[in-house]
């Protein structure tokens, strides 16, 4: 740099440039549009490559996942929803195990208590100096603590949502990718079946299925080796069967179109042409392009499963007594709506909150990981 300057000075170039600048200054005065500048001879030295590059502010390139996670974290609505979901999960899966009441326990003389109210007997114990855990949401008309019932209810609702979605995910993606992979008439027949199932009003069939499965499952549960069935509850099982039979079609369609799109996409052809192996193509292209959509669809499937379960339970076709679900809690509370409206509002609002949170989280995930699906 300095060497270069010395070189220039010696060659007399600097003098020329000085003259030049003087001339430049006079032209500047003539040209009012131009701005006044103090030009130095060094200004006309060549710029190095590094100096040039320092002018270019490159946006850092980030990986798909990092970028998506960053966008997700910045999405406040989605993050709040995630927190809500986690809190609800803690209350439904962890808190009940050390809660002082159980969902079946009928406390004597504590029927239909208002929130935070104590029964006469409990009040006597408190007066005697004993500590009694309050009934935060009161009790139902059979004297069961409502808070724990609501927690168990949301546990059931969440379980149904998650398990059903897993079933749908497995069946749907297997069916969809098989159809897309084989193509031809296999695809044609498989997709016609999907079309047929798609146009059947699902709720009607769910009602039918859950009715007719009840008895056979009941029978099965009495046989050795199948006792777990009665633990889970026949209705719950039939709900799962129903989801497994009907609800996967949307997922299958989506996976099929994704796989087909990938099969025909130019970058996969390009990767093939470059000699990239199948495993790597699947890992690199299929996973990064498909998983985003899959995650989003799965997340949005959970609330819709919960929605359906609560609907069935509300109609009395869901989980069996005494097991509560948010839908059946709301249904039971309907009769006492004039006197005990909170028994209805608590599960009703909770189910809306859960569905809303999953929906919003799903929207956030879509915005973060699957810009293609946006709008």
């Amino acid at each position: 740099m300095f060497a270069g300057l010395r070189e220039l000075r010696r060659s007399g170039a600097i003098r020329d440039i000085r003259n030049m600048i003087e001339r430049y200054d006079t032209t500047m005065k003539e040209n009012p549009l131009s701005f006044q500048l103090k030009l130095k001879p060094e200004d006309f030295l060549p710029a190095t490559e590094e100096e040039k590059q320092s002018q270019v502010i490159m946006r850092e390139s980030v990986s798909f996942w990092k970028d998506g996670m960053r966008r997700l974290r910045r999405n406040k609505v989605a993050m709040v929803s995630l927190v809500v979901i986690i809190v609800v999960m803690i209350f439904s899966f962890i808190v009940p195990s050390f809660y002082p009441y159980t969902y079946k326990e009928q406390i004597k003389g504590a029927n239909s208590l208002a929130p935070m109210e104590y029964s006469a007997e409990e009040q006597a114990r408190i007066d005697a100096g004993e500590k009694v855990f309050p009934h935060v949401f009161g009790t139902d008309k059979m004297g069961r603590d409502y808070a724990i019932r609501v927690m168990m209810g949301s546990r059931i609702s969440l379980l149904v949502g998650l398990v059903a979605t897993c079933i749908i995910l497995i069946i749907g993606s297997a069916y969809g990718s098989i159809a897309a992979f084989f193509g031809g008439w296999v695809d044609l027949v498989m997709m016609r079946i999907v079309d047929i199932i798609y146009t059947i009003p699902d709720i009607l069939l769910i009602v039918l299925l859950s009715m007719s499965f009840k008895a056979p499952l009941n029978n099965l549960a009495t046989k050795p080796g199948f006792h777990w069935l009665s633990v889970v509850g026949e209705n719950l099982i039939s709900i799962f069967v129903v989801f497994a039979l009907l609800y996967w079609v949307g997922m299958a369609r989506m996976v099929r179109s994704q796989v087909l799109m990938l099969k025909e996409s130019e970058y996969v052809t390009a990767a093939r042409a470059l000699g990239v192996g199948n495993g790597r193509i699947i890992k690199k292209h299929l996973l990064t392009n498909c998983i985003g959509t899959l995650i989003v669809t799965t997340t949005l499937q959970i609330p819709s499963s919960i929605f359906t379960e609560s609907f069935l339970s509300f109609l009395g076709l869901g989980v069996a007594v005494p097991l509560p679900s948010l839908g059946s809690l709301a249904s039971d509370a309907l009769n006492g709506i004039n006197t005990y409206p909170y028994l209805l509002f608590i599960p009703a609002l909770l189910i809306s909150l859960i569905i809303l949170s999953f929906n919003l989280l799903g929207d956030g995930l879509r915005d973060a990981f699957d810009p293609k699906l946006k709008n």
């Binding site: 059947i200 007719s212 029978n219 609907f311 009395g316 076709l317 809306s352 919003l360």
Partner: protein
């Protein structure tokens, strides 16, 4: 186009047949037949009943009989409402449900389309935020929650609206709100995103470059394109309205088919359940075909295929 219609109708016929068959066999899966619940019944009476309803015949025979009957609109007699055929119950109750459902569909379209469009046009402005929040919540709230909340506040607390029956115009308000809530929210979202999509299209720029006024561009060029996805939703919306009517009719004690269906389930009126299921499924499937064909007619791009 003709080929498409034929194909669509054929598929619908197959679907209806599949639903009917599935319904028949599922109902016959119930062990002990439909009279199990009535315990105090003599074996003779049981046999007489079974003979009357044709339950003593083999399954295949009963299937053929049932399907031929169903084809002629004969779903047999109701098991619980003595002396009445399933079809007579359906034809009496369905118009009530259809009226409530029809009004709800109209309300959903009339509210959803303009509100969704406004949200898209005012993107990022307060109007958009308000509409989007309402739409998001509307999709998240199950119909039974809306029903019960409406009932509690407007019916019980404020006493503004009647909570039961369907005698006057006032009686329609709550059931229609409850039934149209979800579809309205869904259409708002659909319309918003489809309108946003259309607004970004090149032909909107062309329309502007022609010197057309904003209103003309919106109504002639944007709306016609943006409304197409809503047309495809009309089919699913009908299905939703029918299933939604189960809850709504139960809560508001409306003498419609939805409420009847729930009663039949709780009372194990198997023939009525089967008949209603097949009837409603056929209705939804046929409406889907009609909507699909209408869609092809409105969208010239698909006409030739």
């Amino acid at each position: 186009m003709f080929k498409y219609i034929v194909k669509r109708i054929l598929l619908a016929v197959v679907t209806i047949w599949a639903v009917a068959t599935l319904t028949f066999f599922l109902m016959n899966l119930v062990p002990g037949g439909p009279f199990l619940s009535e315990k105090a019944i003599s074996p003779q009476a049981q046999a007489a009943l079974e003979a009357k309803y044709g339950l003593d015949k083999p399954m295949s025979q009963r299937y053929v009989n049932y399907m031929t009957g169903a084809l002629h609109g004969d779903f047999g007699d109701s098991l619980k409402q003595r002396g009445r055929t399933v079809m007579s119950i359906i034809s009496m109750k369905f118009p009530v449900s259809a009226r409530v459902g029809g009004i709800s569909v109209l309300v959903a379209l009339i509210l959803g389309i303009p509100l969704g469009s406004i949200a898209a046009l005012k993107r990022g402005k307060p109007a958009d935020s308000v509409i989007s929040v309402i739409a998001t919540c509307g999709i998240a709230v199950p119909s039974f929650v809306i029903c019960t909340l409406l009932m509690y506040f407007f019916g019980v607390k404020l006493g503004l609206l009647p909570t039961m029956g369907l005698e006057s115009a006032k009686h329609y308000v709550m059931p229609v709100i409850a039934l149209s809530f979800y579809p309205t929210a869904y259409i708002m979202r659909l319309m918003r995103s489809s309108m946003l999509d259309v607004l970004g299209q090149d032909y909107m720029r062309t329309a502007k470059a022609k010197g057309l006024a904003g209103g003309k561009i919106l109504f002639k060029h944007a709306l016609r394109n943006a409304i197409l996805p809503v047309v495809t939703y009309v089919g699913p919306m009908l299905a939703y309205t029918i299933t939604g009517s189960f809850v709504v009719e139960k809560i508001f004690v409306i003498p419609g088919l939805g409420g009847e269906f729930i009663k039949a389930i709780n009372g194990r009126d198997y023939t009525l359940i089967m008949g209603t299921t097949i009837f409603l499924a056929t209705l939804v499937i046929v409406m889907n075909v009609v909507v699909d064909i209408i869609y092809k007619l409105v969208d010239p791009r698909i006409k030739l295929k």
